[in-house]
Each structure stands twice: as structure tokens, then as C-alpha cells.
Symmetry: C2
Subunit: 326 residues, 2 copies
């Protein structure tokens, strides 16, 4: 299935979207919001699947032509956002560029992030200062069902309800201050943006295997293709990230768990999904970063593709960095 | 006003509680849940105040004798939990005991914590292993309205809707591993518990000034009074903690911002609000910690008192540490 949330109130209105993204229909009579659907998934999934069949046949009552501009993030607010850092190439480049020791741990890197607001596509994204080092991070994430504490890897894999695509906005100069505290990221991690379409794993065919998404993430900065990065080098699958997240705590339905910035060992050829990684590559190659952080007015556009699927997997995530309204 | 949530579904049912905590009445006809009330505070506050006057007069329709055991946490799940570390005495003891350098930053320490579940009073609290260093942390927190990014200190102060009392459960041995990552606390910070009653600042009279709560937090471990600690040494007021939290991001209605473990420079006399701090005091005095972490079966009870108020400010937060069900 493909699901989305039409902009409405704080949580949006649940839509079922046709496989080719051309049309959609309200599913509010089944569950008013995507969070409500996730809270009662076993009860609502059959009705949602029926509606998905109708919308794909073009025969759903109330079906309308879809303009992605009406869509908010799939979960405009979520109860939990835990972001991993599961692409080792990204970590190695950053550590090398900044001469930092490798982090010696036996578990996945993961932080608890702001979840009460996920920005949608098309909207301006205000940041308080260009001096904070405004950066994007293109990545994928899963949305889970309820997961019990100390869940097994199999339980974790079965808890994956949806996949989404995330831009984890980051303020790099504030991150450099916050890393000193050990308390994690707060000022340096404002609200993420999410592409408008959430998809169930069964939509992906062979592009979903080993609890990993085998897709390519394309990131454009203005007209430039900044990266067209295959997402096939995760050190941990999403099942393992969920096991880690649930090691000492229950997860609630609607928990979003991110992969961290998609990164490839073929970075010279395929590019990067964040500015900071490209700066690290430049520092290693030339001794200094050449690419600057985002300035007000710049646009970032992220889309994902998988073999055999003709449309962007998650729709188009398009954002403009702006000065805040005063 | 005093508000609470009766156990019901994922978010509880909103109650208005009499000032003396002896009785309560459902406010579900005004707002079904406390989160719903916070989402629409300006619209619902007058009706809640009217109901509070009736319940204090003993004349509210449907008023019932209150057994705190029927109460959940005020917000059984919240969109955001940001926990400060605003009592400098606590940080100094920990740094001295572990010979750690002082963290050189110009902003309050704060981390983003798990918010999708706050445990209520009276229930068993399962932890996966006694070997993880199970500890409590007694502290206070505020619940805010929507707060715009880059809010002023005055806006922040005016955004404080409610105060609550929190036990920030911590797994110290996992924290020692996680601090190395810079990514903050995840495994080491399972769900917090919250005392059942939320109160508006105007209930506190002179015990609420300078955006600080001037109360005493009593922590019992079993029959032992572990601490009876005056909460009057916050280095930052809650207004300043909110300003920090909103430096680069909007806060949503229902955001909970914690003070961090209450701690006093008179610790030798008044005790501590967490085991880890007492261990630090023992290490400094005797070269080694003598107090052990919690074991399965132990109970922790937290209550707060302010001058001139005859009942515990937030009711009683009573928890039993248990082995998880298998």
C-alpha cells in the first residue's frame, strides 16, 4: 500500500494513494489519521487494502487527482524518532577528516530526535541563522508497530509497517558544540522533513530484503545533482536498529527509526547525501572544505528510485531554506 | 488548577482534581485527554476553571472520591520530553567522583528523551537486567504550550501551562557506554514515571517564583528516606531551559521540559535524589561507592511539599522495580 496525509490540523487526514501516485482517496472513514491507523493496524489494515485495490482500479468513491502539494509529511507529528547512523562509509569519512578516534562500541549509533513535527514537502523551512551551518541529510526510515522491550530480531522485522524517506536537517556548527556534552543533539537537530508517501514493504518486491531498502537516493541542491547514492551498504538492517532501540524500552506504534545519512564507498562516483560528508571528502583530498553550507533561498530536492518501479518511491521531497518570519 | 488522567486507552481521560486531592470529576466533555486540552488551551481553560471551582465546592456533577491508583501519568504519552541538568551541585559531584573535566559550554545541558510513554504511579516497572545499574532520578518538569522558535525569555515563561514531578529512570552502566558516542542517551534512559497530579503555576503561590519551583522533594527507597532535598538551587530557571530548547526549533503544546535531578549543596544533610549522586559522594569521602543500585522487588516513592500547602503537590509517585514478564 501507499499512504499519505493530506494537510489538515496537527495530524493530517489519512489518504490511500494509487501505486502510480496519480490519484488518491480519503481513508478518514477507516482511520482519521495515519497515527490512528498505526494504533489500530490489525483492525484497519484489511479495509485499507480493499481501498487500495479500488484506487488502483480507478473505482474508489471520492477518488481525486493527486497534487503532492496538498500532502503533509506522512506523520506530521510522531511519538518517537530514533535516528541511526548505519552507513559506515559516512562515519569513516567524518572521522578521517576531523582526525577523530573511531567510536568503540558494540551497538549501533542512534540518537533520540525531535518527533513532534515532521515538515512536509514544498514548504519553506525557516532556520534562525545561516551561521549555524545549515545542512541536509538524506536517509530512509521505517515506521513500526508496537514493539515489546527486548524484542527479537524476528519480532523487530515483523514490526515494520511502513517505509518513508527523511531529510534530517542539521545545524553543523551547533553540533560541534553539542557533541562535547555527551547529551546528544538538540539545538543542532531541528525538525526533519519527510517525503509525502509512506509505503508498505510489500510494495518494494526485491528492493526490500534483509530488512534493508535497496534503492537509490537522489539529492539535488538547486540544479546540481549532489548525490545519486545507492543505499546498499547499511552495516545494520532496520531489524537490528529496532532491536537496539528496544533493548531496554518498549516502542510504540508509529515509532520512526532512521538509517542515518545514506553513504557509499563509491562516493567519488555517486556523490553524497549531505554537505558535511562532501566537505570531509574535500578535506581529505585537498586539505580544506570547498563546499559551503546552505544559504537562505536555496532549494533541496530528494527522490528515491528502485529497479522496476517507475515512480519515485516516496514522491518528491522539495524544500526551500528561508529566513524566519519576524 | 489540578489536573490528572484516569487510566483509559493510550492517552487517559482528563480529570479535574480538587485542591485537597480528595475527589475529582471527569472533564472529558471539555477535552477528552490532557493532550487535547493542551492543544486547545485557550478554548478550554475557562470551562476547566469553572469545573475546578465546582469540584472544590463539592458540587460538580459526577464528582467522585479519588483513589490515586486509578490515575495514569498526567500525559501517558507526550510529543516531546527534553530533560535538563540544571542543578550544578549534581554535576559537580559527578565530575569530581569520576575525575571528569567540567563540560565547558555556554548553554544548559539538555537531552531529548523518550516521550511516547510516561509510567504512572503504583505500577510495576520492568527492567531487563539488574546488571544495568538501575537508578531513579527525582526531578520537576514543566509542560508548555506551543512555543515559537527563538522565543524570548518572557514568551518562554508565559508558555508554562503545568508543573509535574518526574522520576527519570536511568540505567547507569549503559549510560557509561553511551556517553562515549556523543549521541546522547537511548538504552540508558527507558520511560520515565510521572506523579499523577499536574498543577498550574498559580496553585503554588510564592513557591513558584523566578520560573523555579521552591519545593522539597522527598525520595524514599523502601523504608529509608533517601533524600529530602530543597529544589532551590537551579542554575537556570524553567524559562531559560525553554529558551534553550526553542533556540532553533518550535516546541509543541504538551512539550515536557525537566530540571534534571534535584540536588543541593547541603547534600550531607538533605541527601540525594538519585543513587548515582550518593555513590559519587561516597567515592569522594571513602574512595569507593557503598550504596548499590536497585534490585528487583525494591520500591521507590517520591512526594513533594511546599510551604503552606497541606498535600503532596503532585500526589504520590510510587513504583516497584520488577523483572520483566517472560
Amino acid at each position: 500500500m501507499k499512504l499519505a496525509s493530506r494537510r489538515k490540523g496537527r495530524d493530517g487526514e489519512l489518504l490511500v494513494v494509487a501505486r502510480d501516485l496519480s490519484s488518491a482517496v480519503s481513508a478518514a472513514h477507516i482511520a482519521p489519521t495515519l497515527q490512528a491507523a498505526l494504533d489500530a493496524w490489525e483492525n484497519v489494515e484489511p479495509a485499507l487494502k480493499n481501498l487500495y485495490a479500488l484506487v488502483n482500479a480507478g473505482t474508489a468513491s471520492g477518488q481525486f487527482t493527486l497534487d503532492q502539494a496538498v500532502l503533509d509529511a506522512p506523520l506530521p507529528r510522531a511519538w518517537q524518532w530514533l535516528d541511526g547512523s548505519a552507513y559506515p562509509q559516512h562515519g569513516e569519512l567524518m572521522a578521517t577528516a576531523f582526525s577523530r578516534p573511531k567510536i568503540e562500541i558494540s551497538f549501533p549509533l542512534m540518537y533520540q530526535g525531535l518527533s513532534h513535527h515532521f515538515l512536509g514537502t514544498g514548504g519553506p523551512v525557516p532556520f534562525p541563522s545561516e551561521e549555524d551551518g545549515i545542512d541536509f541529510e538524506g536517509e530512509f526510515a521505517v515506521v513500526t508497530s508496537d514493539v515489546p522491550m527486548a524484542a527479537s530480531r524476528q519480532t523487530a522485522a515483523e514490526s515494520i509497517r511502513l517505509l518513508i524517506q527523511v531529510n534530517d536537517w542539521s545545524l553543523r556548527k551547533l553540533a560541534a558544540q553539542e557533541v562535547k556534552t555527551g547529551f546528544g543533539w538538540l539545538m543542532s537537530k531541528p525538525a526533519c522533513a519527510a517525503a509525502p508517501i509512506a509505503i508498505t514493504p510489500d510494495e518494494l518486491g526485491s528492493a526490500w530484503r534483509d530488512s534493508r531498502l535497496h534503492a537509490t537516493l537522489e539529492v539535488r541542491r538547486g540544479e546540481e545533482i549532489f548525490g545519486r547514492v545507492p543505499a546498499n551498504e547499511m552495516a545494520y538492517g532496520f531489524d537490528e536498529l529496532i532491536v537496539h532501540a528496544a533493548r531496554t524500552r518498549d516502542l510504540c506504534a508509529g515509532t520512526i527509526i532512521g538509517s542515518g545519512t545514506v553513504s557509499s564507498s563509491r562516493y567519488a562516483e555517486v556523490g553524497s547525501c549531505c554537505i558535511s560528508e562532501r566537505q570531509a571528502i574535500e578535506m581529505i583530498a585537498h586539505g580544506a572544505a570547498r563546499t559551503r553550507y546552505l544559504q537562505y533561498g536555496e532549494r533541496v530536492r530528494m527522490t528515491s528510485y528502485a529497479d522496476g518501479i517507475s515512480v519515485p518511491l516516496f514522491g518528491i521531497l522539495d524544500s526551500a531554506v528561508v529566513r524566519p518570519a519576524t
